[in-house]
């Protein structure tokens, strides 16, 4: 429990640093860049969040988890605001987040400029296998187990894996 009268915004960022993403629990919502801003006015704390995809079903859970951590730390007046603009991009994912993803077995997003290609039947993005590091992989499906992932398979070690697609 902290004294909410004498707390700084930096301290609140730190308080929320371990809130996990419910669908990719190895990542925190800060790794993903979902928390956009934190405001503090007269003991009212406002946390501004943005969804990854329009239909991301995890947003309510994320908002609830943030609220829970703040309640635990003594805040009573909590406001969670969702903003859509600017639209979320994988460019906001932290380097630490990308490393954690890879260690977890999910290939992290490539830099965005590589994939802004809307041509039909364009060659698939080259993605490194998170298991054996080979670039000799192929895309199985552009759509995967969640909106933010595509399905790939490694041609060297045969490992099927998720790729956190660049967005």
């Amino acid at each position: 429990m902290v004294d909410v009268k004498n707390i700084s915004v930096d301290h609140i960022w730190n308080m929320l640093k371990d809130v996990p993403d419910p669908e990719v629990p190895v990542l925190t919502v800060q790794d993903l860049g979902i928390i956009r801003d934190i405001h503090l006015r007269d003991e009212v704390v406002e946390v501004v969040i943005t969804p990854t995809y329009s239909g991301c079903p995890a947003m309510d859970m994320i908002a609830a988890n943030i609220r829970f951590v703040l309640l635990e730390n003594g805040f009573k007046n909590i406001q969670i605001t969702t903003v859509l603009s600017p639209a979320w991009t994988t460019d906001w994912m932290s380097e630490e987040g990308k490393e954690k993803l890879k260690a977890y077995g999910i290939a992290p997003p490539n830099p965005r400029q590589q994939v802004c290609n809307n041509e039909l039947f364009a060659p698939h993005e080259v993605v490194q296998c998170p298991r054996c590091n080979s670039y000799h992989t192929h895309r199985v499906s552009e759509f995967g187990s969640t909106a933010c992932k595509a399905l790939y398979q490694c041609d060297e070690c045969s490992e099927p894996f998720d790729y956190f697609k660049c967005h």
């Binding site: 969804p51 995809y53 329009s54 239909g55 991301c56 079903p57 903003v83 859509l84 603009s85 600017p86 639209a87 979320w88 809307n118 039909l120 039947f121 199985v140 499906s141 552009e142 759509f143 995967g144 187990s145 909106a147 399905l151 967005h167």
Partner: protein, 254 residues
């Protein structure tokens, strides 16, 4: 102005919800696992767009009338004549060719429309459109590739695409016929003149069709009215399924 803005927002929401629902009927029934996942992912994006628009419509309605309704009030507790989606999206899913073609025709239109809306004077509509465009890019590429694959595939798949075109083409003109509320908000710089989207749409559809070995048919019959709440009989059946749980347990939460 506010009531036409609410109607327009609902029109955008209803298009996405109803098509999202139709696509979701493939869940567990797709021709192969990867494409089952693809079409249901597209459903999720569309339903997400719909939620964003419904939440905005609820905000505007509550401000106007000092009541307290939510996105669910619009999705689950309106009757078919209150829905403002275009007719194309409510038609049964048909076979895979028909589902693919509808998604392609719709995404092609939505892409052009949302590009315009991303510069709307209404900041929330612009924000939803900009966010959605990133997802629409996937939908458009995926459905375009499938139109080509099927049109330029086997005799059977080509025939099915031709049947789908004959079935759906008469419903596409509604994209470009503005409803009363669309004309009303045009002056405020919120929406866009949909009749002007037709040339670009025809060009983009024509490009993919020619690669698929398919031809754009001549327009003989035109079906419109969905935007103004005049729906086909399929809409009742769709809503009775979509709304059944919410209406049976109106106060349930989870």
């Amino acid at each position: 102005m506010t009531s036409s803005l609410i109607n327009y927002t609902l029109h955008l929401a209803d298009n996405s919800l109803v098509l999202g629902h139709r696509n979701s009927e493939w869940c567990g029934h797709g021709p192969v696992l990867e494409q089952d996942i693809a079409i249901t992912n597209i459903s999720l994006d569309l339903i997400g767009q719909a939620r964003n628009f419904y939440q905005y419509a609820a905000l505007l309605t509550n401000k106007e009338n000092e009541i307290n309704i939510t996105e669910d009030s619009f999705a689950y507790f309106r009757n078919s004549e209150e829905f403002k989606n275009i007719l194309l999206v409510e038609l049964p899913k048909g076979d895979w060719a028909q589902t693919i073609l509808r998604q392609f025709l719709f995404s092609c239109w939505q892409n052009l429309l949302f590009e315009k809306l991303s510069a709307s004077n209404d900041q929330q509509i612009a924000a939803i459109a900009t966010k959605s465009l990133k997802e629409i890019a996937y939908h458009l590429r995926w459905s375009s590739e499938w139109v080509i694959r099927l049109g330029d595939g086997t005799q059977e798949s080509h025939m099915r695409m031709e049947n789908a075109i004959n079935e759906l083409w008469s419903y596409t003109e509604e994209f470009f016929v503005p409803a009363t509320y669309e004309m009303e908000i045009l002056n405020n710089g919120v929406g866009t003149d949909v009749s002007l989207l037709k040339a670009g749409w025809m060009q983009n559809v024509g490009k993919v069709f020619s690669e698929a070995g398919l031809t754009i048919p001549s327009l003989t019959t035109i079906y419109t009215g969905g935007k103004e709440g005049r729906h086909t009989e399929h809409m009742h059946q769709l809503l009775s399924e979509l709304q059944s749980v919410a209406r049976a347990h109106p106060t349930a939460t989870w």
